[in-house]
Amino acid sequence: MKSITELEAIRKKALEQMSVRNQDVRMRVVVGMATCGIAAGARPVMNAFLEELKRRNINDVKVTMTGCIGACRLEPIVEVVDEKGEKVTYVKMTAEKAARVVAEHIVNGRVCLDYTIGAEEKNK
């Protein structure tokens, strides 16, 4: 090791790989991953969240999974939970929608109302 800059570069890279273990979480993205969720395509949705967050270097938002929420017809379902525990539930998610949720909701703090469970219920 010839310089501190070199050490710092290694630190940054390693930290990024370990970010999943960081417990300072600003927001959580909870993806429904029970049988019907997976069947409806929850896995690509989850991966889209992971990739989008990584692309933007966001380390304090965690993507986790949950089981059946009980509204299988609306799957894939994703909940975005903020620090205070306020939940926004997005339904019928896709990878494209996931990218928009990251950009609008997670980065800019604007809930994507048109993807929420409320909007979906109204459309019926």
Binding site: I10, K13, Q23, A34, T35, V63, T66, G67
Partner: protein, 600 residues
């Protein structure tokens, strides 16, 4: 490089490894493949989490769910439920958090066992992969070294350590900064830095856990010490009975060399330092500093008189700095967070934290790191989960064979160097053995003395002969053959050995006897005068008897007695032939009607 959405940390400490955590890792790899998750989930082997009694431990991130007592058969469920579907496997959570509502709980911090601790020396244990230098670097590893080499003069480093108030964690509690200063002031072109990783105290395993869980923290500290005192070569003396620690140290040294953190011209500053491992054969006396250095030189590990102290004449007659593993593990944090921060933790004269290996009659045996000044009660009840089976706390033994017992009446004493010494015990390296009402204090003293007699190097007569005489008296007392005057003889011998033995082993060997005499003299007297062991431990003085009224003459005891010394017939109470009974206790355990009693 790949980002994984989930990390599964499996404890690879000695405790968990011996309860099969290696198999668990293999099983995870198989199950992850079966479920096509191998590119999403990464399995990492860590060092000890501290909760060894609940091991093997598995922690799944990002949820931070801690699974305990995991068996290889459980892995399939963790993978299919938790990793595939996000459903926490509640039955495997620690029992005190099983009922929590929030399934995405940050379980680790919720557990009482961790809540009360402050982890400085153990900061990375159970958190990082000890075989990957990058993970250490990620958590600010080698940053303190960089700071020291590029921004600080050696005197400033020593000053920082002095200001922090850090004292040696290997037993004696000598101020670390002062020791560094002595070594720095010794004039010589060759000096050495040494790490004492011998850890011979029965019941102690904190140094092993640090080496297994975070070897780089010790390496980094030794390089810093080398810079501070002007040394370019370090030695780690580790006992060969610690194979996992040896292996991880070996890997860590190699990785540090690859990164140029050991070797020539570190950080381009012109400073060079390297470290070699030396394996000890596991003799307790080799932990004593002069014996340790003689052993590193390749000779038989026998102590020599001090002075000269190692800081003046140590390895190969050159000035040598010797510190304990845990002492070193504190150094990088002190440099990064500042001496004021460190000195704000703990008590007036004992700064920072201390790691204890808590064992014996306690629910959560394992490793705990607590701020100095925490009371024994907090350690035993709040962190340790109390005494099993509703038994009463009787005493805690600290300091191993050099220490003594703290009786229940002092349970609210804050734990620090000086209070423990006042109580006739000592901090020692941090073994803490909890004893309940069923422990015989004379027997405990005998246990530690047996250890000393076995481990005495034999160089000086007070230790070689004196401790043997003490042991003989203790054997007589516990054997029911104690004589009037035995207790006084023990005291005289103890005083003389303490005053005349050459090294610390002999000088402290009588402590367990003296401290139990101080608080439990009545137990000694009961053994000698009444030929009774109040705790019912010393076999010579107790026997098993069958209560004729309770006995239903079922014959179960007789069938289970290994020496067939119980006789009887239908309708008549059974009796034990006391002359043949070997006091194994089987009959009492097996009697369905609780008709057999231990008579003391």
């Amino acid at each position: 490089m790949q980002i994984y959405r989930s990390h599964v940390l499996v404890c690879g400490g000695t405790g968990c490894t011996s309860s099969n955590s290696g198999k668990i890792i293999e099983e995870f790899e198989v199950q992850l493949k079966n479920n096509k998750l191998e590119n999403e989930v990464k399995v990492i082997k860590t060092g000890c989490f501290g909760l060894c009694a609940q091991g093997p431990i598995v922690v799944v991130y990002p949820e931070g769910s801690m699974y305990t007592m995991v068996k290889p058969e459980d892995v399939k469920e963790i993978v299919e439920e938790h990793l595939l579907k996000g459903r926490i496997v509640r039955r495997l959570l620690l029992s005190d958090i099983q009922t929590e509502e929030d399934t995405s709980a940050k379980s680790l911090e919720k557990v009482d066992f961790f809540k009360r601790q402050l982890r400085i020396a153990l900061r990375n244990c159970g958190i990082i992969n000890p075989e990957d230098i990058n993970e250490y670097i990620a958590y600010d590893g080698y940053k303190a070294l960089a700071k020291v080499l590029t921004e600080m003069e050696p005197e400033e480093v020593i000053d920082t350590i002095k200001k922090s108030g850090l004292r040696g964690r290997g037993g004696g509690g000598f101020p670390t900064g002062l020791k560094w200063e002595f070594a720095a002031k010794s004039q010589d072109d060759i000096k050495y830095v040494c790490c004492n990783a011998d850890e011979g105290d029965p019941g102690a395993f904190m140094d092993r856990s640090i080496l297994e869980g975070d070897p780089h923290s010790v390496i980094e500290a030794m390089i810093i010490a080398g810079y501070a005192i002007g040394a370019n070569q370090g030695f780690i003396y580790v006992r060969a009975e610690y194979p996992i620690a040896v292996k991880r140290l070996d890997i860590a040294i190699k990785q540090a060399r690859e990164y140029g953190l050991l070797g020539e011209d570190i950080f381009g500053t012109g400073f060079s330092f390297d470290i070699e491992l030396r394996l000890g054969a596991g003799a307790f006396v080799c932990g004593e500093e002069t014996a340790l250095m003689t052993s590193i030189e390749g000779k038989r590990g026998e102590p020599r008189p001090r002075p000269p102290f190692p800081a003046v004449k140590g390895l190969w007659q050159k000035p040598t700095l010797l510190n304990n593993v845990e002492t070193y593990a504190n150094i990088p944090v002190i440099i990064l967070k500042g001496p004021e921060w460190f000195a704000s933790i703990g008590t007036e004269k004992s700064k920072g934290t201390k790691v204890f290996a808590v064992g014996g009659k306690i629910n959560n045996t394992g490793l705990v790191e607590i701020p100095m000044g925490t009371t024994l009660r907090e350690v035993i009840y709040d962190i340790g989960g109390g005494i099993p089976n509703g038994k009463k706390f009787k005493a805690a033994q600290t300091g191993g064979p050099s220490g003594g017992c703290i009786p229940a009446s002092h349970i609210d004493t804050p734990i620090e160097y000086d209070t423990l010494v006042q109580l006739g015990s000592m901090m020692g390296s941090g073994g803490l053995i909890v004893m309940d009402e069923d422990t015989c204090m004379v027997d405990i003293a005998k246990f530690f003395l047996e250890f000393t007699v076995d481990e005495s190097c034999g160089k000086c007569p007070p230790c070689r002969i004196g401790t043997k005489r003490m042991l003989e008296i203790l054997e007589r007392i516990t054997g029911g053959k104690g004589e009037e005057g035995d207790i006084e003889k023990l005291e005289i011998l103890a005083k003389n050995i303490k005053a005349s033995a050459l090294c610390g082993l002999g000088q402290t060997a009588p402590n367990p006897v003296l401290s139990t005499l101080r608080y439990f003299r009545d137990e000694y007297e009961a053994h000698v005068r009444d030929k009774k062991c109040p705790a019912g431990v010393c076999k010579s003085m107790m026997h098993y008897v069958i209560n004729a009224e309770l006995c239903k003459s079922c014959g179960i005891c007789a069938r289970n007695c290994p020496v067939k010394c119980i006789s009887g017939q239908r309708g008549v109470p059974y009796v034990i032939d006391q002359d043949k009974c070997i006091k194994c206790g089987t009959c009492m355990e097996k009697c369905p009607f609780k008709a057999i009693f231990k008579n003391v």
